[in-house]
């Protein structure tokens, strides 16, 4: 009995418990609303179904959010990912549209390489601003967030570049081994990042830098180099996400591509249990967070609610998930339940103040 209880406590206490519960509730609500929701079928050797669609559409967000997790783990934030998505998509599409044969695989690969290189440069710019010059991350990346949209429009001359390239489309809607290509890319990046950060010391080093950059420097970690690195990785992830998003619609719109994706990515990271204060990161949580956001978006579309009104639901889910995970909120609920409801509020306030002072 007591072991059962403690096991239950271990499950409910796990940091992934509440995010997964929210995801399951969302999926269950969808299934109740539309019984065919859970069906997955095989057509022409490819998997089809709402669940597969959610996975495929969430691939770009998963990529951006993974890069964002690493940045947030160092105590930073990267607001510029949306702009990097727009720039990389615009550069790739512009490059392909200027080619005589848009279906040439080599040409597409060159375009991808050029766009990827430019994204790395943008990431390096962020990295230099934060690690070398020492500007607050939120502001350093705000510069590129504002200017990057302008750059993307400069690249596309304010037009929407439409391309007709089979190989490029594959990135967004193609299939490989029965699965959509985008899912495989997202999976590959996830595995690569997980192995790099959790099977080597890199992850711990990143968390150490996020915990205390100065202390980790004194402990022999080149914290500046690590901080520089995470911004480059974040931009690289954003670039791949940019290819997916533009390939999905076969066109690049400097104004709308990746708009507000940085906010969704930050939400995914926070929902996944990573604190914005830095020092810890959970890649698995981030992926669950990204899936929650995409499931929410997809289900709201399926219920014929306008995308803008969908923001109302997003706001509610964000606040609920963040409140559940906030230690202060949990403590308050716990005292409310354990003591009599009439317990004066004053003692908790004093405790809280003491905590703050101690911190």
């Amino acid at each position: 009995m007591s072991t059962g209880k403690s096991r239950l406590a271990a499950v409910t206490g796990h940091r992934l418990f509440w995010p997964v519960v929210v995801l399951v509730v969302l999926l269950a609500a969808n299934a109740a609303y539309r019984p065919s929701f859970l069906a997955v079928e095989v057509k022409n050797g490819h998997l089809y179904g709402s669940l597969i669609d959610i996975l495929r559409l969430s691939a770009p967000l998963v990529l951006v959010a993974l890069g964002m997790s690493l940045v947030i783990a160092t105590g930073g934030i990267d607001l510029s990912v949306g702009s990097v998505v727009a720039v990389s998509g615009a550069v790739a599409c512009l490059h392909i549209s200027e080619r005589p044969d848009q279906n040439n695989v080599a040409g597409v690969l060159t375009a991808l390489a050029v766009a990827f290189g430019i994204a790395l440069l943008l990431g390096a710019w962020n990295g230099v601003l934060v690690s070398v010059i020492g500007i607050q991350p939120i502001i350093a990346t705000l510069i590129l967030m504002v200017a990057g949209r302008g750059l993307a429009q400069l690249v596309t001359s304010g037009q929407i570049i439409t391309i007709n390239s089979g190989p490029y489309r594959t990135i967004g809607v193609g299939h490989l081994l029965t699965l959509p290509f985008a899912i495989i890319v997202a999976l590959a990046v996830t595995v690569a990042l997980a192995v790099l950060t959790r099977r080597t010391a890199l992850g711990m080093i990143i968390e150490a830098v996020g915990g205390n950059a100065e202390a980790s420097r004194l402990a022999g970690i080149r914290s500046r180099r690590i901080i520089f690195l995470v911004y480059v990785v974040s931009a690289a992830c954003a670039a791949v996400a940019g290819f997916m998003m533009t390939a999905n619609v076969s066109s690049a719109d400097g104004n709308a591509a990746g708009l507000w994706v940085e906010l969704d990515a930050i939400l995914a990271v926070v929902i996944g249990g990573t604190s914005l204060a830095g020092g810890r990161f959970f890649l698995s949580g981030t992926i669950v967070g990204a899936l929650i956001i995409q499931t929410l978006t997809t289900s709201v579309y399926a219920m014929n609610i306008s995308p803008q009104t969908a923001l109302l639901f997003k706001a509610v889910v964000v606040i609920v998930v963040c409140l559940i995970q906030a230690p202060a909120f949990r403590a308050r609920i716990r005292t409310r339940f354990r003591r009599r409801p009439a317990t004066p509020v004053a003692p908790t306030v004093v405790e809280k103040q003491k905590e703050q002072v101690a911190a």
Binding site: V146, L154, I319
Partner: protein, 331 residues
């Protein structure tokens, strides 16, 4: 060195040495003058006083919103919800006026929405210790969602009082300003007084400088935090009403990204994003810089609109670098 400074007193400082905390504001002022000078030398019509007034007329609502943002940023927080709250206020105003409510009542309701939402966000931030970034992001989603929930298309305002105020011209010789400009300037004056001379203003600066010291000094940290988000919400509400005067409609997708303009204006105006140091006057100058950039690009005619964003990004970079350099010198 500190001792000599202490004993030296104020009168030892040479008159030409500007206090360091005022350098960013003066740099913004100088930049504004240079930009205006460039405009006047390049375009004949630029020297008309009406151009200056137009900058105020076109940016009155941004001015008010940025002033509210200054309060929040001074405490070291951030408010991403302002653009959406502006849109929601304009939307509610338009919808209620369409339904035939008396203008005075509509004005009251519209003015209450922003502060209520701001108060709620401030409470969540303070009591549950959740990052302002996330809470105000949720607020942004909420307000924007409410806009389309009210109506998915734009609602025109035909009410007599609203059109009357919108078309009122206050003349100074040949040029004129609108009522909105006067309201915006009044908000600026009240905010500047509050930050400089009241207890709330001092608390805001103290919390931005160091929340723990402020707490140890016995300052009401929680109350002040909640207050700044409420003030920001109030400013957004006033901004929304000014916007409804300006456009005479409520549209669900208006003022998207205004929070970025407001933050940019505050930063260009020399307020430190870590909090604790900054002036409302700097924010005013920051908004004017943004306005003059847009005016210059409109006057040129050959430059495309996206240059605005690139120039703003460049300016942000320059000013942050300047702040950083000052920060290093202080150490």
């Amino acid at each position: 060195m500190t001792t000599s400074q202490l004993t030296g007193g104020v009168d030892r400082a040479p008159w030409w040495r500007v206090p360091q905390r005022q350098v960013p504001v003066l740099a913004t002022g100088a930049l504004l003058l240079v930009m205006y000078g460039v405009g006047v030398s390049q375009y004949r019509a630029f020297s008309s006083i009406q151009v200056v007034f137009n900058v105020f007329i076109d940016n009155g609502f941004l001015l008010v919103v940025a002033v509210g943002m200054t309060f929040v940023i001074l405490t070291g927080g951030i408010d991403l919800s302002v653009g959406s709250v502006v849109a929601m206020t304009a939307m509610v105003t338009a919808a209620l006026l369409r339904d035939g409510l008396p203008p005075a009542l509509v004005l009251l309701i519209a003015l209450l929405i922003g502060p209520t939402l701001g108060f709620a966000m401030g409470c969540v931030i303070h009591f549950f210790d959740i990052q302002p970034f996330i809470v105000t992001l949720a607020g942004m989603f909420f307000a924007r969602g409410m806009c389309t929930w009210i109506s998915s298309s734009s609602i025109p305002i035909t009410d007599g009082f609203w059109t009357g105020v919108a078309q009122e011209r206050i003349r100074f010789g040949d040029s004129f300003v609108t009522v909105s400009v006067l309201i915006a300037l009044a908000v600026v004056a009240v905010a500047a007084y509050t930050l400089a001379y009241t207890r709330l203003g001092r608390n805001v600066h103290a919390i931005g400088g160091s929340p723990q010291s402020a707490l140890l000094m016995g300052l009401p940290v929680g109350r002040t935090k909640i207050a700044v988000y409420t003030v920001s919400g109030l400013c957004s509400a006033v901004g929304g009403i000014l916007l409804s005067f300006y456009t005479l409609s409520g549209a669900p997708l208006i003022a998207v990204g205004m929070e970025l303009d407001a933050i940019a204006a505050v930063v260009i105006g020399g307020t430190l994003l870590t909090g604790g140091s900054g002036y409302v006057l700097g924010t005013v100058l920051g908004v004017l810089v943004l306005g003059v950039i847009q005016t210059l690009i409109t006057f040129d005619g050959t430059l495309s609109s996206w240059w605005t964003k690139i120039v703003i990004g460049g300016l942000l970079f320059a000013f942050i670098l300047l702040q950083r350099l000052i920060g290093i010198r202080k150490k």
